[in-house]
Symmetry: C2
Subunit: 258 residues, 2 copies
């Protein structure tokens, strides 16, 4: 199996621009939000106050494209397969390299991703429906407010996985071990209790089958910080394109709290 550094090399040189799901199994993948330094403190504070949807894995020094903690050999301007560029909250571009957009006062936030805890669920014999059905995970806007920080605020977005009744407790235990990648669920069961009107119509991603005897279980979702950042409509925000993540040098298990 290819190592993280090799895969990042292929991505950097334009030989690979596909979604990264399933690549370098066992290594943690990361979401990206790049902001100008003048918003960095408020955004970091927002993430700190809302760690379940916004688990920060690394923050680059202002002006440096190197995620020194999770992948010291990487460059966040070239090592994601695909980026989205937003100007004043509007998507204006999708590109595979952002070197030409990089400025000296930019700060990159690398945010944990549910791929990590899904692998832990699978390793525990707990099914992950959207993987079985080869779809994107269903995501929903909720009525759970995030804790505000400066200009950043908004409701939590959650992802949903149907879990067989008899495995719900184990699913809570398994995912609680990984607070750095969303941790335990935020809600079990009744979607309406958290403001979700129609479970069959997710706000983002795809609907998946909920079988007899399965309970919808909801985890805080990394789409939350992106949605919240857009809401502020900064001059310029750059994110990864959905599913096109950075493969870090850190193994999933290293994020286990015990």
């Amino acid at each position: 199996m290819m190592q993280p550094e090799e895969i990042r090399g292929l991505i950097r040189t334009g030989k690979l621009s596909e979604p990264t799901a399933g690549m370098a199994g066992g290594y943690t993948q990361a979401n990206l939000v790049i902001l100008k330094k003048e918003l960095a403190f408020e955004f970091l504070l927002f993430c700190h106050r809302n760690q379940k949807p916004c688990p920060i894995l690394d923050v680059t020094e202002p002006g440096s494209p190197v995620p020194a903690i999770v992948a010291p050999g990487a460059d966040i301007r070239t090592d994601f397969p695909r980026y989205r560029v937003y100007r004043r909250g509007e998507l204006t571009d999708e590109v595979t390299d952002i070197t030409s957009l990089w400025e000296d006062d930019m700060v990159g936030f690398l945010i944990g991703c549910s791929f990590t805890f899904e692998q832990a669920l699978l390793n525990n014999g707990i099914p992950v429906r959207h993987i079985e059905e080869n779809r994107n995970v269903p995501m929903y806007q909720t009525n759970i407010p995030c804790v505000k920080a400066g200009r950043f605020q908004g409701p939590m977005v959650v992802s949903m996985r149907p879990i067989p009744e008899e495995q719900v407790v184990r699913a809570v235990q398994v995912t609680s071990r990984f607070p750095a990648v969303h941790g335990g669920p935020v809600h079990i069961g009744n979607p309406e209790a958290i403001g979700i009107k129609n479970i069959a119509h997710p706000d983002f991603g795809d609907a998946v089958t909920i079988k007899e005897g399965e309970v919808p279980v909801f985890w805080a979702c990394g789409v939350t910080p992106q949605a919240v950042a857009m809401h502020v409509k900064p001059e310029l925000v750059i994110t990864h394109a959905p599913g096109h993540m950075l493969i870090t040098d850190i193994r999933d298990e290293q994020f286990g709290v015990l």
Copy 2:
């Protein structure tokens, strides 16, 4: 027993200016570092990169003295029994109220304190020697480097508690449940391995007895962020005076990860 709000009221009105150890048992107490906003991002990043010595419980909005997450009814300018004022890294004042020093661009960082996990150790029948001997916990400068963030850098300071050999595993388990208040130990046993020359001469606090059959166990210490902040010699830093903490509204157990 008095509730956190009552005790803070006594402190605020000058009726109480003693160390807070043992007050409002079961409620988490917090350390304080106040900096100007221009240093806030780097300091928050430093704390994020060094969560074991610098576990952030709350950060106030710039200019607001209210720790909205851990004690929404509190005021960090008046509700610590005693403060220390440092100008360019030098201690210039010790006061019981900092209202007259407060400025619109100040940010307060509330940092977790080992009182929380010591209570958990005691609840598990594990002795805490400096409490038994009515001394301050022994603290040592180590050779363990913190991860740098902007201007903030320096070695980790640790606290030491002698633990009976047969209880060391349990001490690791119990404290690992509380990552928000330093979490599991950083080292067990041989002090020299982390750069401590003489265990009988702590750099801060008091020496304690290590009995036959006991192992020195080292936890990351909240003195680290204060030492690191001083090193930068900012124009003005305000901290709590040692042992004179904020009593929050959050119960210790709420910080347990499982």
